[in-house]
Symmetry: C2
Subunit: 334 residues, 2 copies
């Protein structure tokens, strides 16, 4: 492994990867913890293509496949046990580093060649051969090219996996990572004939009832401040109890507040423990919420940031509202 | 007009339309009542292209432009007064018939040639020249081809209008009318360089606060029946009063119920008057809600239908719940 680390550089060598995959009789594929549509869909599509070439393929993910992705062709073959022995080619999909697969370098066979296919700008180029395209909305876009370069004709099962990868990681073509190429990839997959209504139903219409109940609580606690520019949602511990929702189901709820006409900044305050309040901040056009979150020891990005308060909900609410109202008052020219 | 009506047929003659538009010095464009992103965006894009060719162009819509579309380049030029005198070429965009523009044939100058560009399967081919493509997700797709055939290079303003037309009428590429061509059109427009975050913010993040409050009421009245297969939402007259929402703001709320995991059919019952209850029905995979709505004198499509009850809310709820539970019990093989 030492030799490998010394060789690490930030060069993309897709053609070398294609050559190696073309020759390998066995390939093990890996995708990251807390799996999403992109890592599962891209891994399965590539694996199915390699199988079509006559190779022996295995799929690994540290976690089980989320139920909303279980419709993906091949998903039942994903294992939570590492392949043993490890084949000569190990292909990591959508992982910035080995830690994303809960693996350390010592767990990787020294005789194996590590291939790294990813789209994160933070990718550590941990592979022997790397193919990292940060401008791709999803690894699905790269996987589509990879499979084409392998000379495999993409079938409906692969297309279903690839379309799911792209539609999930691009936020249904709404996130700012969406490019003309994203749409061209989708067009190519629709040409093959994927069942759009079925895919969209599986991905977008599987909200746990507890999440809808949590939304109900959040809307009941919705407050509008700063002449309509600030929308604040509050979720107390009892809201989670009442709705039966886990903490992570609150993810995305703040967007309901952010999408109200006239709102520049939306905040979700949730009570995660006694005198422990997590704040999630989103802004629309100009307010730098990273600066606001930093005031309270947190951080993030200009349009999405977070922080944790070790005070009561009432105190947290007052603190963040005051800080945001001040920032809004100072305006964008500050 | 009599002569024109006798000539009516269901032939598409886009090349003739391009020829006429190429020659005309003046063109008046028309789009439909209750304007949406497709009719406004397509009309503006075509009009801006014709202007680039040196023509005199006017834009007409019976209603004012909704505020969420006021960012569209050229939107401030749309008038609620008919052009007078009417030029030789009148181009109708996204209209099945003249009634969609609140016009009768007698209001159309006999000296003018009527062009009809639309994507509704129900289009009446009311134009002297027609270009109707029911397989297009939006008129925006047809308008993109039309402008290209005119030989006009599409600029950012036109692209912003066309992208908005497509993204709104295809439900952000989620509706089943989305095709490979829809994505190819989007790719072509992104190549020109539209400001995606700005467009998406204008279109998707302008929910009236009253609509969010109405969603809150609907969620507070959410009921789950038939072992999780039926989700029912109720909006009483006082919910509309309390939230300050007009009737039409309830549109789409039923999808929050439809998107719950395990739900096959979702119903929104809303009280629109004394003993007057409107029912909106949506199904996901197999239940024919058109059949259910027909039982109560309504109708629609297999996956989306509606009906009106002239009974109390409690009675309407019992009637529709019983009918749906029976249909679910009989199952999809019935």
């Amino acid at each position: 492994m030492q030799a490998r680390m010394n060789l690490m550089n930030h060069e993309n060598t897709p053609e070398e990867m294609i050559k190696l995959l073309g020759k390998a009789p066995k390939v093990a594929l890996f995708s990251h913890v807390s799996p999403d549509g992109d890592c599962i869909g891209s891994m399965l599509a590539i694996g199915l293509a390699l199988e079509k070439m006559g190779k022996e393929v295995s799929f690994y993910n540290p976690n089980s496949v989320p139920s909303y992705l279980s419709f993906l062709p091949g998903s039942s073959r994903i294992r939570q046990e590492l392949p043993n022995p490890q084949p000569e080619i190990l292909l990591f999909v959508d992982c910035t580093d080995l830690g994303r697969v809960n693996l350390s370098r010592s767990e990787i066979s020294e005789d194996s060649t590590v291939l790294n296919v990813d789209h994160h700008i933070s990718n550590l180029f941990f592979g022997d051969i790397n193919w990292v395209e940060p401008q791709a909305s999803a690894v699905g876009e790269i996987a589509l090219t990879l499979i084409s370069k392998l000379g495999v004709e993409i079938d409906r099962n692969m297309a279903t996996n690839l379309y799911t990868a792209i539609v999930t990681d691009s936020g249904c073509f709404q996130y700012s990572n969406t490019t003309a190429q994203t749409h061209r990839s989708a067009a190519a997959l629709l040409d093959i004939g994927v069942d759009l209504p079925n895919i969209h139903h599986n991905i977008f219409d599987q909200k746990p009832l507890a999440q809808i109940k949590l939304l109900q609580c959040a809307l009941n606690g919705l407050e509008i401040h700063a002449h309509g520019q600030l929308a604040l949602m509050i979720l107390n511990a009892e809201d989670f109890q009442k709705s039966g929702a886990e903490q992570e189901l609150s993810e995305g709820l703040v967007n309901h507040a952010r999408s109200i006409a006239g709102v520049e900044v939306a905040v979700l305050l949730k009570e995660v423990g006694p005198r422990e309040i997590k704040g999630g901040l989103r802004s629309n056009l100009w307010l730098n919420v990273n600066e606001i979150a930093t005031l309270f020891g947190g951080g993030g990005h200009q349009r999405a940031a977070g922080c944790t308060f070790r005070i009561s909900m009432a105190e947290a609410k007052l603190s963040i509202t005051t800080a945001i109202e001040e920032a809004l008052r100072l305006g964008r020219d500050h």
